[in-house]
C-alpha cells in the first residue's frame, strides 16, 4: 500500500491502468483503493477474494485489501464450480469480487459475500470523493498481503502466504521508483491468480508504468493491443510466446512485416521455453530486449534473470556453452542467494546437478496452516532441479518430482525434451517415466510433430531416439516414442505431466508395443 501511496504522491496524474484516454490515474487508483477498503471492512470479512479476469477492479481490490489489512486472494476462475467453492470456503469469512457472469458460482456459500465487479467499479467511482478513509495500514509488513493457491498438480492446492515485507523487499530490490518514462506501458496478459500477474501490478505501479490488461489471452488480440496502446513492455508464459511467434510469422508478406516497433522489452517465464521458439522470437523482434525471469509463487516471483545482452550474446555465439545460456534462467538477482544442494542438503560443486535452494528477504516459503518450508537459516528448497555453470548462470531442469528414475539412474525429462524440440520435425515434446518391472521406470516421449509429417511414424520415432542417443547418454534414450496431437497444458502454460502419465498409462508395463 505504501508503494501505491508513493506512486500517487510522486506521479498522481499519470495513467496507472487502462488507455491513455479514459484510464485511471494513480491518484484515482489510490482513492478507489481507499473507498474499497471501507467496503471490505464493512463486510466483516477476513479476506478479499477475486474470481475474475483482469480489470481495473484487480489493482483496486489488491491495494484496497492491503489498506484494510486483509489478505488478497486471487482465485482461479477456470476451476470447476466445486473446486472454486472449496477454495473460497477455506478463506471464509470472505468478500469475493467476481465476474458479473459468474455471480452464481460463489453465491449461497457459508461466509462468502459476493460482489459484482462492474457494480463495485461503478459504486467506487461515485463514492471516492466523499469517503477515502485515513491512510492507515500495516507498516511493519508482517501482515499477509496475498494468499495464492498453488496449482496443486500433486494434490490439494496449498495457500502460499506472501507478507507485505516479502513483496516490498522484492519491489524495492528490483524496481526503481518512477523508473519508467511517461510514455511507457506494460501489457499484462497473465491471469491474476498467477504470481507474475500480482508482481506485474506491484512493479509497474512503483515504476510509474501504465498497465494495459488483456483479460483473456489470444495472440491476435495481444499483438493488436501492443500496437494500438503503444505497449513498451510485456510478460508472457512460453505457450503465449509460441502463439505470438506463429501469429507474427503469418503476418510476413514478401519477407516484410510490421513487427512490434514499440515493444522495447519482452519478459517470459513460468515454464520451460523451447529453444527454437525463443530463437525465432529473437529473429522476428530484433529491436526488442528479451528477459527470462525465473521465480516461484513462494519466492514473490522473480529470483533470477537472463537479461537482454545475455540473450543476444548467446544467440550470436558459436560456443555451445554460451549458446546454452539461452536455455538458462540467467543470474540470481543481487538480493538473492542461490545454492545447489544434494539430497542431504549439502552444497554440490559448481556445475553439478542438485536441488535449487534460494534465500532472500522476498522469499516466503510459507503456506497457510502448514509448517514453513524454510530451513532455520532461511533457505527455501524449491523442489526444482538444476545446476549453476562456471559463469554463474542458473540452469533449471524441472521439478524434482518429475525426474525419471530408470535402473537407479536419475534422468531429467528437461534434457531429453530439449533435444527433441530442437529437431525440425518436432513442435513440442515431453518425456515421462512409466512403470517398468525391469527398470523401475521406462522413458516414454510424447511428441507433437510439426507441419505435414513427411517420414513414416515408426521410422521417425527411431530417428528421434537416435538423436537423443547421439546428444545425451544412451540411458537417456526414450524407450518408446509416441506421437500425439497436443500436450496437456494448464492455462498458465504448465505442462500437466500427471495428465500425460494417465493418458499414456497403457504404454507402461505389459503393453509395450
Amino acid at each position: 500500500m505504501m508503494l501505491l501511496e508513493m506512486a500517487a504522491a510522486g506521479f498522481g496524474d499519470r495513467i496507472a491502468v487502462g488507455s491513455l484516454d479514459g484510464g485511471l490515474t494513480f491518484q484515482q487508483l489510490f482513492d478507489r483503493a481507499g473507498a474499497s477498503a471501507d467496503r471490505f471492512r464493512a463486510a466483516g470479512a477476513d479476506a478479499v477474494a477475486m474470481a475474475d479476469v483482469s480489470s481495473a477492479a484487480l489493482p483496486i481490490s489488491l491495494f484496497g485489501a492491503a489498506w484494510a489489512d486483509l489478505p488478497f486472494v486471487p482465485l482461479n476462475y477456470r476451476l470447476t464450480d466445486d473446486e472454486l467453492a472449496t477454495l473460497a470456503g477455506r478463506i471464509a469469512p470472505a468478500i469475493a469480487v467476481v465476474d458479473p457472469s459468474a455471480i452464481g458460482r460463489l453465491s449461497g456459500l457459508d461466509g462468502v459475500s459476493v460482489v459484482d465487479r462492474d457494480a463495485l467499479l461503478a459504486d467506487l467511482a461515485d463514492l471516492v470523493d466523499a469517503t477515502v478513509p485515513a491512510p492507515e495500514w500495516d507498516m511493519v509488513g508482517e501482515g499477509t498481503a496475498i494468499l495464492l493457491f498453488t496449482s496443486g498438480t500433486t494434490g490439494e492446492p496449498k495457500a502460499a502466504v506472501l507478507r507485505h515485507r516479502h513483496l516490498v523487499s522484492y519491489v524495492l530490490g528490483s524496481v526503481e521508483f518512477m523508473g519508467a518514462g511517461e510514455e511507457e506501458a506494460a501489457l499484462v496478459s497473465v491471469p491474476p491468480y498467477h504470481v507474475a500477474g500480482m508482481a506485474a501490478i506491484l512493479s509497474n505501479v512503483y515504476a510509474g508504468r501504465r498497465i494495459v490488461q488483456l483479460p483473456a489471452f489470444d495472440a491476435a488480440a495481444w499483438v493488436d493491443l501492443v500496437r494500438t496502446e503503444g505497449v513498451t513492455s510485456a510478460m508472457v508464459v512460453p505457450t503465449m510466446l509460441s502463439r505470438i511467434v506463429e501469429h507474427l510469422e503469418a503476418e510476413i508478406v514478401d519477407g516484410e512485416t510490421v513487427g512490434l516497433p514499440t515493444l522495447r522489452s519482452l519478459s517470459y517465464g513460468g515454464g520451460k521455453m523451447p529453444r527454437p521458439t525463443i530463437e525465432r522470437a529473437l529473429e522476428l523482434l530484433p529491436d526488442t530486449a528479451f528477459v527470462n525471469a525465473y521465480g516461484l509463487t513462494e519466492t514473490s516471483s522473480t529470483v533470477a534473470l537472463l537479461g537482454p545482452e545475455d540473450h543476444r550474446e548467446a544467440l550470436a555465439s558459436d560456443d555451445e556453452s554460451v549458446r546454452a545460456r539461452l536455455g538458462s534462467a540467467g543470474r540470481p538477482l543481487p538480493t538473492i542467494e542461490v545454492s545447489i544442494r544434494d539430497e542431504d542438503g549439502t552444497e554440490v560443486p559448481t556445475g553439478g546437478p542438485g536441488e535449487i535452494w534460494v534465500r532472500g528477504e522476498q522469499v516466503s516459503g510459507e503456506y497457510r496452516g502448514m509448517a514453513p518450508r524454510l530451513t532455520p537459516d532461511g533457505w527455501f528448497p524449491t523442489h526444482d532441479g538444476g545446476w549453476m555453470d562456471d559463469a554463474g548462470f542458473l540452469h533449471v531442469s524441472g521439478r524434482i518430482d518429475d525426474v525419471i528414475v530408470k535402473g537407479g539412474q536419475n534422468v531429467s525429462p528437461g534434457e531429453i525434451e530439449a533435444v527433441l524440440v530442437a529437431h525440425p520435425g518436432v513442435s513440442d515434446a515431453a518425456a515421462i517415466g512409466l512403470p517398468d518391472t525391469q527398470w523401475g521406470e521406462r522413458i516414454v516421449a510424447a511428441v507433437v510433430r510439426s507441419g505435414e509429417p513427411t517420414a513414416d511414424a515408426d521410422q521417425f520415432a527411431v530417428e528421434l531416439q537416435e538423436a537423443v542417443r547421439a546428444e545425451l547418454r544412451s540411458n537417456r534414450t526414450p524407450d518408446h516414442v509416441t506421437f500425439v496431437d497436443a500436450l496437456p497444458y494448464n492455462d498458465t502454460g504448465k505442462l500437466l505431466r500427471r495428465v500425460l502419465r494417465a493418458d499414456l498409462a497403457h504404454l507402461g508395463d505389459g503393453s509395450t508395443p
Partner: protein, 101 residues
Amino acid sequence: MPELKPGSRFASDVCTTEVIVVKGAGEADLRCGGAPMASAGTASGGGTPSPDAAGGTLMGKRYVDADETIEVLCTKPGDGSLGLGDALLEPKEAKPLPASD
C-alpha cells in the same frame, strides 16, 4: 533518541522529507538537515536545514550509512540531507535491472 524498526516512519523537522525504515533496529540518531527526525505526524516543522546538510532528498531513493547498519526509503522529498549523527547517509546505488514483470 528515536527507536528504529523496519516500517517505522520519520519526518524532518526542518523540511518536507519523510522516510520509512527499511533496515535497522534500536535507538539511532537519525537526522535530516542536521536536526533530529521525529516520528511521522509529530514533527514540529519550521526551521531550515543546516548548510552542511542541505543536499536534499529524492523520493523513492534508499539511503544508507557507511556500514549499511540502517537503510531508509524516502517517501517524501525535501531540502535537507539525511544523516546518522553527524555523518550523512548516502543514496544506495542500485544496479538497474531489466523489467521482468
